[in-house]
Each structure stands twice: as structure tokens, then as C-alpha cells.
Amino acid sequence: MNLRSPRPKRFWAQPWFWAWAVTLFVFPLIWVGGLVTTHDAGMAVPDWPGTYGYNLFLYPLSTWLYGPFDLFIEHGHRLLGSFVGLLTIGLCIVAWRNDTRGWYRWACLGLLLAVIGQGLLGGFRVVLDARTIAMLHGCGGPLVFAYATFLALAASNDWMRADQTIEPRGLRRLATALLVFAVVQLVLGAQLRHALPDLPPTGFMSLVHLHLTMAGLLTLVILALAWWVRRLPYRLHQPLRGPANALLGVLFLQLGLGIATWVVNYALPWTEVSPSLARYAIQAKGYWESLIVTGHQATGSLMIAMSVWMVCRVARRQAQLVANSHSYTISERQVVAAGAK
């Protein structure tokens, strides 16, 4: 046994554990937040930070669990949000104690501020009863999720050991563009979800067209990324395949959910083209309808997180290349030669 080697820390003392814990709990938080919007339950509890005069954590369990559904999800959203806040505090403490990277510590603190900011936005959405703040809150959630994903990735083994290099052939730019498009798409989706009652039909239609255009653009970018990763010289870079495949999967899921979301909300404008569509009656607030609409929103957040994953994997390897000019670079010729062997 090498007594000079540092004593392995327990898993709960590692930043990666807390960063992943935050990330994994932010995703259900986004789901519940989406359900709150789907059921228009944002004002189910009219006060904040308390719940009907009670302290948030002391609201009677039976009233919460067996009370009205909108109150159940709104109060549940608040509780889950508080729990994520506590986890983020844990991440900050562990990062400051055990991570030697200064920027990472500050980034963790930044996440805590972002989580607090989200909580404040949620609170003021209630206190001011303002749908635009609800929209900002709805956009902020996925961004916090993306941020937490970044911190989890930055604490991962891949980040620490990424010593392979990638030639800057535009992959990084494409991955970054994907991230930007995904965020813009999210904002457009949030505008549609939180449309004000007096938004003129022309405004709504423009938003829908923009949302569709951006969906087309995202599809093209993800397909291009997936194709690019599979061709030389990136074929040998196993770590890039994970995010590329995940993005493809999320894309197809999201496209299907997007069409389904429109159908269960508004029906297709061409119902007269087939008997089954002509016979379909939308079920308002139905179980599957709620699940589809909320799922579309949550999968949008997942797409942003996957984009962050892709950007991290690519950028990290390019950063290594920049940091070490003598590092080994795979050229197309070498890859072809390796393939020939």
C-alpha cells in the first residue's frame, strides 16, 4: 500500500456526487414546473414563501397530499425547489473544501445564486401574479439545469482525463451553435406556453412559425453533428459518440412530442383529411395530454443539457490541444492508416 498516495475520499465528499445529485433533481423539478404550467397551477398558492400562511416546510402533509391537484403540484414544486437549493449549498461546501480548481468553486457558487434567482422569480411570479415573470421562470429552469449539467461534467473523469485532441474543424462551432439554437427554441416555446390573453393571433402565429423554423434548424444541426462525429477524423473519438447519439434520440423524441403537443392542444388544422383525425376529440387536462405537453417542455430542457454535454466534450479536447502545442493530433491520414492496419 502506498502510504504517500492521498487517501481516497468518500463519494459524498466528492464534488461530482453533489453536482450529479443537483442535476438529477433539477430535471424532475422541471417536470413538476411544467405540470404547474400545463395545469395553470402557478397561482394555486397565493402567498410566498409560505403556503397559505404556513411555513413552506410545515404545511400539513395531509392537506397537501389530499388537497386540490393544482395545490399539490405547486406546493410540491416549491418543496422540490427548496431541496435542490439545499443540494446546491452542499455542492458549494464540498467544492470549496475538496476541489482545488478556483474557477470551479466560484462556478458552484454561481449555480447557487442561479437557483436562488430562480426561486425568487418563482416567488415574484406569485406575489405579482405576472405571467411574463412565469415565462422568465420557465426559461430559467432549463438554463439552471444546463448549468448544473456543466458542473457535473466538469467534475467528471472525462473532464479530468481528456487528453485526446481534436482538430478544430468547426465541430466546436457547430456544437456551440446547437446550444444557442436550443436555448432560443426554449424561449420561443415558453412564449407560446405563456401567451398573454391579448396577444393578437398574428403574434401567436409568428411565434409558431419561428418555433417550427427553429425546430427545422435544430434538426439539421443535430443531423450534421451526428454525421460529422461518425466520419473521419472523429470516428476514433469514442467520447463524442455518446452525446451525438443522445442528441439524435432526444431530437426524434422531441419532434414526435412537438407534433403530439399541438394535436392534443389544438388539433391539426387539416382534420378533414382523414377519418381518424375528423373523429378525434381533444381531451382537456387528460392524463396523457398533460404528460405529452409537459414531456415536450422537459425534453426541450434535456436537449439543452445534451448540447452542453456535446460542447463540453468537444471544447475540453480542443482546450487540451491549445494548452499543449506538442500534444498528439490525429490527422486524417493517420486515421486512414490506422484503419488500414
Binding site: 400562511g53 404556513y54 406575489v127
Partner: protein, 431 residues
């Protein structure tokens, strides 16, 4: 000392609207006593300054705006003044909107014109209207409010004018309640729908359209009364809208002054309200479907086919010889003709109808007759539903009521109408 689970650790911020409405009730809550009483200086500081900070950040987006007015009926005014040419429709519409606001209130604070007609629950239950009005949410009494904005506003619009944000993307367009006409009802043309008619539409939805079924609300004890409330609000919006519409018509055509004290204006409001009162209980009687053997049914269908092709019913004109909805006569509904044909505008010519776009017009779309081979009937697919469609028609559309042989009047007997129903239900896609 604090007792059990009602301890308040943080000062609570209640939404200002509810705080002003329900401060007394909130104070009575066991936990809230602490919440309000211990609203500390720090709490007030945070509330005040964070609110200002957020408001400042969001001011550009107008996020503090929670109240939305009813939209004046400029389209109707524009269609009426089009002939005269030199008249601006907007001031007329705005004046009419002021009068109806004085009588019926705003989307956040609706009221009943009690000085014209005493409040009467057979017409509208204002308590339920109040539940549907305003922003979505629960106050301290835990009763949910803002049901219309929660369930309907994105299509039907805050005014119930069928001009909600999503309206232009839907086919058919959402209903404009302000004409006072409803398609699927049990009452004859010219009569208002009964509460049961509206309940049926809300409960079952309209297949093949964007109108959803709210059956899920019925199945949940906590939301079971929501449909009743929405029915009252639809009736309220329709009355309010029709009064506004008639005021505009009278003002443009006969120069009536748009003022709440104007006797003619008051009479218009009273007559619209009275028509809703008179329509309850005026449903057409629908007999039970006859019980037929297979051979009798085949014979009934054969007779029905003859009636279908008969000039008396004229079904073929719109629905086509095979019932595919491809007959030679294709027309627009009354909601569209109201501001196009009646205003001298050809709905087929974009250059003409687009001049009404600034006033809230949507692209005119043909009201396609049903294709019977698809078995999709918007007002209900049961035999009794179709019988009802035949005898009362579909108001506001080219589908007229069939003349019923009653009291010596010429027309179809009930048995002959059942034959027609059996035929319509039997139409299959032979291709």
C-alpha cells in the same frame, strides 16, 4: 410561544390583489396570524425592494400587467360603416364598449346590469361568472378562480370573440359568442341554447375541431363544478357581446346615442337578456328511435336514401350524391358572411377581405359540409343527435332545419326523418 406545525419561520408575502381582497380572512387562518402579524421589517424590506428590482427588470416586457380589457367590436362597426365610407368605426366601437362596460363590468370585475333587469339565476348565475372571471389562481379561501382564462382564453379570447392568440391557426375558427348564435343546440333557429346544450358541448367536445372535451373535469370531484361555472360565463359573454353588437348596429344605422341613459339602448339590453330567459325550456321534442329488425332497418335506409336525394330535403346540394360533403353548394358560415357578404365584401378576394384585417378579421374559410363516410359528427354521432340536427338545423351555417310535418304543415314526419337518419348513419366509403 409557537405551537406545533403552525410555526411561521418566514414572513409571508401574499399576492397584493388577494391581500386587499381577503386580508381579514387571511388573518383568521391559524398559521396566517403569525404570517401577517410577524411581517418583520426585514420582510417588508425584501418585499418592497425585491419587487421593485424585479419590476424594473421586467418593465420592458410589461410583466406587471395582469388586467386585460374586453376588446371593442370594431369588426362589426367596420362592416356596418363600410358602405358609408367616411365614418371611422373605431370611435363607434369604443363608445359602445364604454356603455357595455358600465352595464357588464370588465373581465376582472364582471357585473350584472341590475338597474335594467334584476339579477336572475335562470338567466345567469353571477356567482359562477365571478369564479370564471379574472386571473387564474386561488385566493385564501382556496376557491379556484379565472376558469375562463385557464381553459378557454387562448382560443376564444378574453372577450369571447373567437379572436384568442391561437385563433388563426385553428380550423374551424373558435366560436365568437357575441353574435348570440350557437351551432349545436336543441332549440330552434333564433333561440338561445339551453344550459344542457352548452354542457354537452363542453363535456364531449367537438370531434375534428380544437374544441376539447372537458370530461376530465367532470370526473374529478374538485373540478366537477367548473363546467357549470364556464356555462354561466359563456352565457354572460354572449349576452354582453350581443348587446354591444346591437348597440353598434343601432348607432350606425339609426344614429342612436351610445349612452347608458338612452332608453333605446336600455331596451336593446333588456330584449337580449329576455331572449335568453325565454329560450330555456324551448328545446325541440326528440322522439325515441324506433326499434327495427334488420329487414325493417334495410327498408328504412332505402327510404332514407330517397329522402336524401329528394328536392324537399335538398341534402345532395351540399353533402353530395354519395354523402362525401362534395355537393355543388359550398358556403361560408354566418360569422364570416356577417362582415364579408353583408358588408359587400367578396370573401374569395384577399384584396377585399384584407381591408377588414386591422379590425380583427380572420381569413374567410368555407364551412365544409360533413362527409358522412367518415362517421364524424360534430354535434354528436348518436341517432338522436342526428335527428336533432335535422329538425333544428345548425344555426349560423348553411345547414337548415328540415320542415317537420306538424299541425297540418307540409314536411317530413318523424318516421321519415328517422329513415333519413338511418341512411346517413349507414353511408360507407365504397371506394
Amino acid at each position: 410561544m409557537f405551537s406545533s406545525p403552525q410555526i411561521i419561520l418566514f414572513p409571508g408575502f401574499v399576492n397584493a390583489k388577494y391581500r386587499s381582497m381577503k386580508a381579514v380572512d387571511v388573518a383568521k387562518l391559524p398559521g396566517a396570524q403569525g404570517s401577517l402579524a410577524r411581517s418583520t421589517t426585514l420582510g417588508r424590506f425584501i418585499e418592497q425592494y425585491c419587487a421593485y428590482a424585479i419590476l424594473a427588470c421586467c418593465a420592458f416586457a410589461g410583466c406587471g400587467r395582469t388586467e386585460f380589457p374586453f376588446r371593442p367590436n370594431e369588426l362589426h362597426a367596420a362592416s356596418l360603416v363600410r358602405e358609408s365610407g367616411d365614418m371611422d368605426p373605431k370611435p363607434v366601437a369604443a363608445d359602445a364598449a364604454k356603455v357595455v362596460e358600465a352595464w357588464f363590468g370588465t373581465p376582472d370585475a364582471p357585473k350584472w346590469p341590475s338597474d335594467l333587469v334584476p339579477e336572475d339565476t335562470t338567466i345567469v348565475v353571477m356567482e359562477e361568472v365571478a369564479r370564471c372571471a379574472g386571473a387564474v389562481g386561488r385566493a385564501e379561501d382556496e376557491i379556484e378562480r379565472g376558469l375562463f382564462r385557464k381553459h378557454c382564453v387562448v382560443c376564444h379570447g378574453i372577450t369571447g370573440d373567437g379572436y384568442g392568440p391561437a385563433a388563426s391557426l385553428l380550423a374551424p375558427y373558435p366560436r365568437d359568442f357575441r353574435r348570440g348564435s350557437f351551432k349545436f343546440k336543441s332549440t330552434p333557429v333564433g333561440y338561445k341554447p339551453t344550459r344542457e346544450d352548452l354542457r354537452k358541448t363542453l363535456t364531449h367536445g367537438i370531434p375534428g375541431t380544437s374544441m376539447p372535451s372537458f370530461q376530465a373535469l367532470n370526473q374529478s370531484p374538485e373540478f366537477a363544478e367548473d363546467i357549470d361555472s364556464l356555462i354561466e360565463y359563456v352565457r354572460f359573454l354572449s349576452i354582453r357581446g350581443e348587446v354591444e353588437r346591437r348597440l353598434i348596429s343601432k348607432a350606425v344605422r339609426e344614429g342612436m346615442a351610445l349612452d347608458t341613459k338612452e332608453p333605446e339602448a336600455q331596451q336593446i339590453a333588456i330584449s337580449v337578456i329576455q331572449r335568453w330567459k325565454d329560450s330555456e325550456g324551448s328545446s325541440a321534442a326528440i322522439p325515441e328511435p324506433p326499434s327495427l329488425s334488420d329487414s325493417e332497418m334495410a327498408e328504412s335506409i332505402r327510404r332514407g336514401r330517397d329522402w336524401y336525394a329528394n328536392e324537399l330535403t335538398a341534402c345532395v346540394k351540399c353533402h353530395g350524391p354519395e354523402g362525401r360533403g362534395d355537393g355543388p353548394s359550398q358556403d361560408y358560415d354566418e360569422w364570416t358572411k356577417d362582415w364579408t357578404v353583408l358588408a359587400g365584401i367578396d370573401p374569395k378576394h384577399p384584396s377585399e377581405w384584407k381591408e377588414m384585417k386591422p379590425f380583427g378579421a380572420l381569413k374567410p374559410v368555407l364551412d365544409r359540409p360533413r362527409n358522412f363516410t367518415w362517421k364524424s359528427f360534430r354535434g354528436g354521432g348518436e341517432a338522436k343527435d342526428l335527428f336533432q340536427r335535422l329538425v333544428v338545423g345548425i344555426e349560423g351555417t348553411p345547414m337548415p332545419p328540415i320542415a317537420r310535418a306538424e299541425g297540418g304543415n307540409p314536411g317530413l314526419t318523424d318516421d321519415q326523418i328517422w329513415d333519413l337518419v338511418h341512411y346517413v348513419l349507414s353511408v360507407e366509403d365504397d371506394s
